[in-house]
């Protein structure tokens, strides 16, 4: 044989593995793989960093929220805004016990993100120390099979010092 048998065997092995991988990737169902959502707090220019650190009490600050969806389907979400301290932060399983102040709702397509500016009031609730107040943003998703909002375990917080006027 003019074509070397060993070379031919190697070529065939590569082609077989490649075709199997290609077929599997092609017929893989939509939305397979790890599904997740992400929430980011950005500054007023919708960039990371340069967050406000000192805020006058009862004033509003402008931030930017970004929600990314990789759940393999469009999702109906809400971001809930709360004010608390390091003792009342949410966890991966439970939302913060603080009272919701504002919320933003929206629908985001799979593998897409929604980025928008928000304006939030800042004050010191109860007897908390104004030196370290946490602005908490929790991500909730509407579970259409149970018809209720479900806390995703995804949250972000921003520590600020509130200056009393």
């Amino acid at each position: 044989m003019i074509l070397d048998e060993e070379v031919f065997a190697v070529v065939m092995a590569i082609v077989i593995i490649g075709s199997i991988l290609g077929a599997v990737i092609y017929i893989r169902p939509m939305g397979s793989g790890e599904s997740f959502v992400a929430l980011s707090i950005l500054n007023e220019r919708c960039k990371m960093g340069e967050y406000p650190r000192q805020i006058i009490e009862n004033s509003n600050i402008t931030l930017c929220l970004s929600i990314y969806n990789h759940m393999g389907k469009p999702i109906y979400y809400k971001v809930v805004y709360k004010i608390g301290t390091n003792t009342t932060l949410p966890t991966n399983t439970t939302a913060s016990p603080e009272k919701p102040i504002l919320s933003w709702r929206g629908v985001v397509y799979d593998d897409a993100n929604n980025t928008f500016l928000i304006n939030v009031p800042v004050y010191v609730p109860g007897n908390y120390s104004p030196d370290r107040i946490a602005l908490i943003f929790e991500l909730w998703i509407y579970d259409t099979s149970r018809d209720e909002w479900v806390y995703t375990g995804i949250w972000n917080h921003l520590y600020v010092k509130v200056i009393r006027g």
Binding site: L3, P74, W104
Partner: protein, 153 residues
């Protein structure tokens, strides 16, 4: 005596005023809450349908974007019935897509498995075609060669 009755009158008036002032505030707060709940109720069906259509391989990105804009505006003004009409328009688009969803899904599945079959048949094609192609190219590249008998020393 006259003074005490005047005081009572003022007290009753102030109480009535407080009640009248309190009622609209309470009603507004209630209606905003119930309004947002109402949005959830109305939107959840549409989101469920979008999930279904997406699962059937139909591109609903434009409808999702329209719904997103609608929700953002509706959240700012939950009692505005204009948004219900807009939602109804999205619903009707979804309904028309749902009618063809199963046939679209079936045809996309057939196409998908046919393409996968074609990809899997590539090794067979390579097995039979590659040696022949190699031979063809080998001979073609040597077609101007002249075979000369080697002279023995």
């Amino acid at each position: 005596m006259r003074r005490s009755s005047l005081n009572k009158f003022l007290l009753v008036i102030s109480l009535l005023l407080m009640i009248f002032l309190a009622i609209p505030t309470y009603t507004t707060a209630q209606s905003i809450d119930s309004g947002i709940d109402n949005i959830d109720k109305e939107v959840s069906d549409v989101v469920r349908d979008l999930e279904y259509l997406y699962g059937r391989g139909i591109d609903v990105s434009n409808l999702t974007e329209s719904l997103n804009k609608l929700i953002i505006n509706w959240s700012r003004d939950p009692n505005n019935t204009y948004y219900l009409i807009q939602l109804q328009k999205i619903r009707s688009e979804i309904d028309s897509l749902k009618k063809n969803a199963e046939s679209i899904y079936l045809s996309s599945m057939i196409t998908r498995y046919l393409v996968a079959g074609l990809i899997l048949s590539v090794p067979a094609v390579v097995y039979f075609a590659l040696p022949r192609l190699y031979l063809f190219l080998w001979f073609r590249s040597r077609r101007r060669w002249i075979v000369v008998e080697r002279r023995s020393k």
